[in-house]
Assembly symmetry: D2
């Protein structure tokens, strides 16, 4: 069973790259939440390919339809189905990839999983196109979080060997946030001077008929302390289980992440202090989460994305139709670097996880307001 995620903001994804379309059913919202058409469209725009020469030339029309659950601009409280019809359903000749397993792709693992019945055209259910469905549900979640005062910001932390600065108290001012979250910003980085260097990494890969990987860093602001659970719904568990459903994601680390390995406790512990009658930490090595639960500091994590497996270079592979070795040449236009388009998928997917956790918290808190607690 695949397809569904979440306890409080529950999504069910469906669709294939070359079938009728892709979509997502959202369940768990009460009646009366305004539906943010425009915001969702803007987030879809961020993910859209073909906007510039750094991404694939394929044109995707992402105009979505609401199939259920919205009435006169508000949620009805019943399941919401958001659907994007596939415009270009011509099935080109996919006989090549039907039997030649593309390295790095899900062709072979999917073949085994589905006993050879998966829709192989354009990757089928594994297609990156499915992430448009995640963006729709995520953008809606994000809009709700925004209305509650929470903000999710991502930047490109690394492409190839070029690394952007990390988020820090100093660098995360209002101006930076505004710039990074502008939906027209196709290359959100903290240190803008690195832009050319990063872009040239992509162009070099493109010229070589190759692709390149990268890292996205994400910051979540204004989540109150007390969100999450020790077992098994920790903030890290929830976010990572969502992120590892995004194609090409191969690693997730919170706060100092893998740097913790060579740290001492005296360095990694975030000393605490009282400020304005609130408890804060002086550093934020733990990325806003201790014991699986938010501590009120910004949540910070990094997600690594492997190089797009679709490359123009010749590759050796297996042909499943005759169980023989063969040579594969993938033609057509492909993203030499998926990071700029993966970024809005990551931050909107994050919104799904955060909203799910926040709603759980609201149930614990406001759902029991009538109970007199011990003084």
């Amino acid at each position: 069973m695949s397809g569904s995620w979440g306890k409080n903001y529950r999504i069910t994804i469906y669709g294939e790259s070359h079938g009728p379309g892709v979509g997502i059913v959202i369940d768990g919202l009460p009646g009366g939440i305004e539906f943010p058409y425009e915001f969702i469209n803007k987030e879809l725009y961020r993910r859209k390919p073909g906007k510039n020469k750094y991404t694939t030339g394929r044109q995707e029309e992402d105009d979505f339809k609401v199939l259920s659950g919205i009435f006169e601009g508000y949620t009805t409280g019943t399941p919401i189905n958001l659907f994007i019809e596939n415009q270009d359903k011509r099935s080109r000749d996919y006989s090549e990839i039907k039997s030649k397993m593309r390295p790095g792709h899900a062709d072979y693992s999917g073949y085994e999983k589905y006993f050879g019945y998966n829709d192989y055209r354009g990757g089928g259910h594994f297609s990156g196109r499915l992430t448009a469905a995640i963006v729709m549900a995520g953008a809606f979640a994000r809009n709700i979080l925004k209305n509650m005062g929470m903000e999710i910001i991502s930047h490109i932390a690394q492409i190839g060997d070029v690394k952007d600065e990390r988020f820090s108290k100093e660098k995360t001012n209002e101006e930076t946030i505004k710039r990074l979250t502008d939906y027209k910003n196709q290359f959100p980085i903290i240190d803008e001077k690195l832009k050319d260097k990063m872009m040239s990494e992509i162009l070099k890969a493109k010229e070589d008929d190759d692709s390149v990987g990268g890292v996205v860093e994400t910051l979540v602001l204004n989540v109150k302390p007390g969100v999450g659970s020790p077992f098994f719904n920790s903030v890290e568990s929830s976010i990572s289980s969502m992120l590892f459903s995004i194609p090409a994601v191969k690693g997730v680390e919170f706060g100092e992440g893998f740097r913790f390995a060579s740290m001492r406790g005296s360095q990694s512990n975030d000393e605490m202090s009282v400020m304005d009658n609130k408890i804060i930490t002086l550093t934020n090595n733990n990325g806003g989460v201790t014991g699986g639960i938010t501590n009120g500091m910004p949540i910070i994590f990094r997600t690594v994305i492997k190089p797009t497996p679709s490359i123009g270079k010749e590759q050796q592979t297996a042909d499943i139709s005759n169980m023989k070795n063969t040579i594969l040449n993938i033609t057509g236009r492909h993203d030499p670097c998926i990071i700029p388009r993966a970024l809005p998928v990551i931050d909107n997917a994050t919104a799904i996880a955060i909203l799910d956790l926040v709603l759980e918290r609201k149930k614990e808190d406001e759902g029991f307001k009538s109970f007199k607690r011990r003084d």
Copy 2:
């Protein structure tokens, strides 16, 4: 809601460090599976503190009781409750940590989460002691996987700045596996010559009243291709959501993980080949998983564990009883490095996730054997 995990091998954890005990309820197994008392005890032994000078001096008696679900040595098919009574329930004076929030611990986030009602003694439900419950359910799962031919092997990949070799085809021979999985081996590393160096990292931290972090690398052998799902139950989602429930885990990466960021697609793609009429990959950069689904190659991932937050050094923190800054001195004996004891928690927790995924797969496959599929 916390406490429960899994769809097919479902666990529910409970207990506190200084309450009556800790335990776990296991649901989903049919009647007739032999209960591996001895194997579970051995895995508990691996996690046990106080076996040597590199771990805490606290003595834990981990002899567990079966409260339900086992009859005459076999599963009855109904929920299995495994319980470890807390022997030493004397509540020492915990008034200090009741109000002084320990940096790096869940004291403050837990206080907020539970509105100040959490059992703060010894960390309560956040205590590392709860991982004994995970080890019990995990060892049972692991024993079942073993009987199906699957093997889980971990080694200490890094402590402080000392790094062990990584798993590789050359190094992962039978002899190494045997040595690394011997339950008496308290320091499983591939390159044994590094042992002294790693241990000295720990002793140096101990001498400084400090602690040190590290990395555990895990290998899962003989999982068939086709296990997992693209959304949202990918192998990576499932394993990471389990691992991020283990205290102190702050990052998980699969295959080449964060190294993918600076790789090219032509390097990272695992070229494929037919061997003995089976499809294999020539490299295993993807760590056995593509598109969220196993491809038949060994599953490989690394888990980073932050330095134990309990250190002897003086730390600044907040006192929640009067909302004032204060100085904290944690006395008592503590693990300067939790890695050797975290390792069996990680590999047994992994067994829970793998068994859950494998059972899902068996349902898809063997549950539909009667269906004639297309030729």
Copy 3:
């Protein structure tokens, strides 16, 4: 949260009576199951209104579309979305029912549930039209069960005061089953001589601008012993939780049901016997289920359906726009008796529940075939 049901055959319903359409997402099936277009259309036909003078004159075109999950006539193994577009989306003047709460309907409870944001046109998400979505998922499930050898048969057990015979060993011969399950049979009853009497109950109600209730009795054949669970997934729990989601269902009883109240144990116990080396019961008062688990005998249950709340008669009610009492006159054509159209909803809904239970069983059984069990 509403919308989703099931552990192994998982459905997610969506849609409104006067929105874009109604549909259902099905998750949990592996790749390679043939998709029964024709069978689903036949079951939709059974539910279709306007086929004769005993049902509403409204024309519904139930031709459904597959939005995902089917490729070249087989399941791909990924979520299947079946959708019926609403043809007649003209919103008539619904201002009357917007504020005048119709007695017996969900108008008021739905208003409260959704804070007044529900789509009130034609009942919105509460519309009987949603049952077409259940029929689609149910017919698919039923077709799978059929291929495994299981059969679901329903008859009209009661309309008004006219009662059909009950299912019995004598009456449940092949000929009867064939007759009752013929999709063209709009009035499946065991004793055909009662047909005129039942129909005249309906016509009398129609002439009085009134409606009448009834009972459907359902039989499930060839479910093996050992399906279900004592807590909390008993066969009765599972079937009843599904049936009570069908609008107008107000009671479910298994085997002798409410007759058990005045029985003695010596009468109600089903004595057992060995026949052809199989264990059977001599009577079947328990309706095929003991301890929540199938015992191999036919599953039998009865479902009561209240009279359609939409009647032509004048009724007193409340106007929520001004919180005043008012008089309601519902115009338009309505079913004087919903039983014949509810029957295919009930037996296809039953198929969903049975398949979910049977798949759980197959996982327990075939998923562990490799385990040597005690002799």
Copy 4:
């Protein structure tokens, strides 16, 4: 998989009649709810056997232990494990029932389900003793509901052929409620004059070495309108799925239930009216639920319980050890009528279902208080 139920107030049951004990894990409550030791003990007392000559002579000591989740008298917010140790664990000679399948019991269906590995002693996991676990979790839920102003009241509606009056506006006054809910009242009926007649039904069955069935009617007061969902978490679905997990329950009907079959819509529809600026219905044929959602009127339902299958009379059955017919004589003391002891199981189980639904509602409502809704 059995064992767990609920989305917001989640329970996991475990234990066997003659193993170490029976218990239940409760998850989903926040920190700071007072733990009602005394109330739980009183409800356990109501279920306790051996209080008079109308129930089995077996002595059960139901003193329970808290294994986790409660600290200083309040919930910690982490899973709560409540355990009742089996005092009398002597395994009598159960060889007879090991192979001779008792009619009406789960012996055979359980044998098949668990491949012959179930603990057959005293019924094992199927034992009525497990209902003590349900009573514990239910009493806790009920206490929380009580503090929110909700009340659950049951009476014996029928034993054999003797029927008590039904709940009605007239009969459900404060005095009656007090009398019916007094935990010392072992025979709660509305019309006390029927007590002797009912008791004599039981005694007659007892004298005949037989047993007798009955009906329990339950009333839930003060649940606000808007609780429940149309699909698939309707109030009726939720309550019935819980009740059908109680051994011996074979039917559940809401409001007029099976009487609806012979009613007209003009009779069954509950006309509506405005009273004190609230919307009420003039009758309550729908038992407080329309469209699966509460309408603010009292919830009313009836549950039928079959005669205890354990009877002294000789019965024919099958011996599974040699697959031959045999004669069974059950010795020992048994309840000739389980209704008085089933009643507290039913109303406390109801509390679990209601609390789960109410918490869902509170999440929808109070969790979104910050959202400005349309005027």
